[in-house]
Amino acid sequence: MPTKQRSLDVHEDVAFERRQWRVQRVSWIVIALLLLLGLLGVFGNGPLSDAVAADGALHVSYERFVHAQAPTTLHIRVSAPGASPVRLAIDHRYLDALSVEHIRPEPLRVESSGDDDLFEFAGPSAGDLQVSLDGTPQRPGLPVAVVRLQGPNAARVGFRQVVYP
C-alpha cells in the first residue's frame, strides 16, 4: 500500500506493519498477565504456590509449583504424637520424582514396603514432630504424593505438584 510514488526504493508493507502492531499490543497484555501470574506464584515461589494438605494430626506444607532441577522442601508436621516412634509412609514413586536428598531429623529406620517407603522417627518428648524433606525434581511432570501416618492416629494426605521444565 504505497502512499504515493516515491523516488525512494524501499519495500514497505504498511498493511503488514499494522497487523504487527495489533499483535504486539495483544502480546504486551499477554506478557503483563504472565508477569502478574508470576508474581502471584503460578510459576513457582509465591502465595498461590504455597499449599498445605492436612488430615487429622498430619499436616504437609508443600509448593504447588516447582521447577525441574531446582530444590524444594516438603514440611511434614505431626501434632503431638507423644514419645512413641512415629511411622510415616510416603509412596516410593513420589520420592523418586522429587529425588529426595536430605531428611531431617534423621529417621531411626527406613524400610521399603510395597509401593511405600516407611520412615520411623523418634517421637518428640514434647510438642509436634517436624520433618523436612529436601529434594530436587529431576524432570518436568505432575508427580502425585501420598503421605500416610501409621499407628493409632492414622491419617492420609495426597496432593499433586506441578514440575515446570
Binding site: 502512499t3 516515491r6 525512494l8 524501499v10 519495500h11 514497505e12 508493507d13 504498511v14 503488514f16 506493519e17 504487527q20 502492531w21 499483535v23 504486539q24 502480546s27 504486551w28 506478557i31 532441577q69
Partner: protein, 149 residues
C-alpha cells in the same frame, strides 16, 4: 537430546519474545540497551546450559543455535512471508520532508531519534534537511538528505 531441545527452545523463545514485543534491536545506542543485552544473555545462559557444563553439551547447544540460524535464513530466502515475519519490514518515518507522526508513535521513535541519526550518519543540522528517514529492520534509522541546490 537435552542440549538440542534447550538450544531450540531458548532460541525460538527469544525470537518470539523480541518479535512480539516489537524490540527491533538490542545493539542500539543507549546504555540501557547494553545493560539489557548483558542481563538477558546471562539469564538465558543458565537455561541453555542447565546443570551440564560438559564440552559435549556446550558444543551441541552451539551447533543447534547455528543450525537453526542457517535453517531460518534459508526459509527467509525461500519464502518472503517468513522473512517479513522474522525480520520485520522497513518503515518510512519521514516522507519527502514530512514527519509521519502516527507511525513514529507506533514504533516508539521520536523526533530526537531521527535528528540524532541525521547528525550521526549524514552530519545534518536541521529537520528540514532530511528528505527521507527509514526505520530499518535492524532497528537503525537511515537518513537520506535533501540534495543541496
Amino acid at each position: 537430546m537435552d542440549a538440542i531441545i534447550r538450544g531450540a527452545v531458548v532460541y525460538l523463545f527469544l525470537l518470539a519474545l523480541f518479535r512480539l514485543t516489537g524490540q527491533r534491536s538490542l545493539a542500539q545506542i543507549t546504555v540501557f540497551d547494553f545493560v539489557l543485552l548483558l542481563i538477558i544473555s546471562e539469564a538465558s545462559q543458565q537455561a541453555l546450559i542447565g546443570n551440564d557444563n560438559s564440552m559435549t553439551h556446550g558444543a551441541l547447544v552451539v551447533m543447534t543455535l547455528v543450525a537453526l540460524n542457517v535453517a531460518l535464513s534459508l526459509m527467509k530466502q525461500r519464502w518472503p512471508r517468513v522473512d517479513k515475519l522474522l525480520d520485520d519490514v522497513p518503515l518510512v518515518l519521514v516522507d519527502d520532508g514530512r514527519l509521519l507522526h502516527k507511525r513514529m508513535d507506533k514504533v516508539r521513535v521520536g523526533e530526537d531519534d531521527i535528528l540524532e541519526a541525521a547528525r550521526a550518519c549524514q552530519g545534518l543540522e536541521r529537520l528540514d534537511q532530511i528528505k527521507y528517514a527509514v526505520l530499518e529492520r535492524n532497528g537503525e534509522i537511515t537518513i537520506i538528505p535533501r540534495s543541496q541546490q
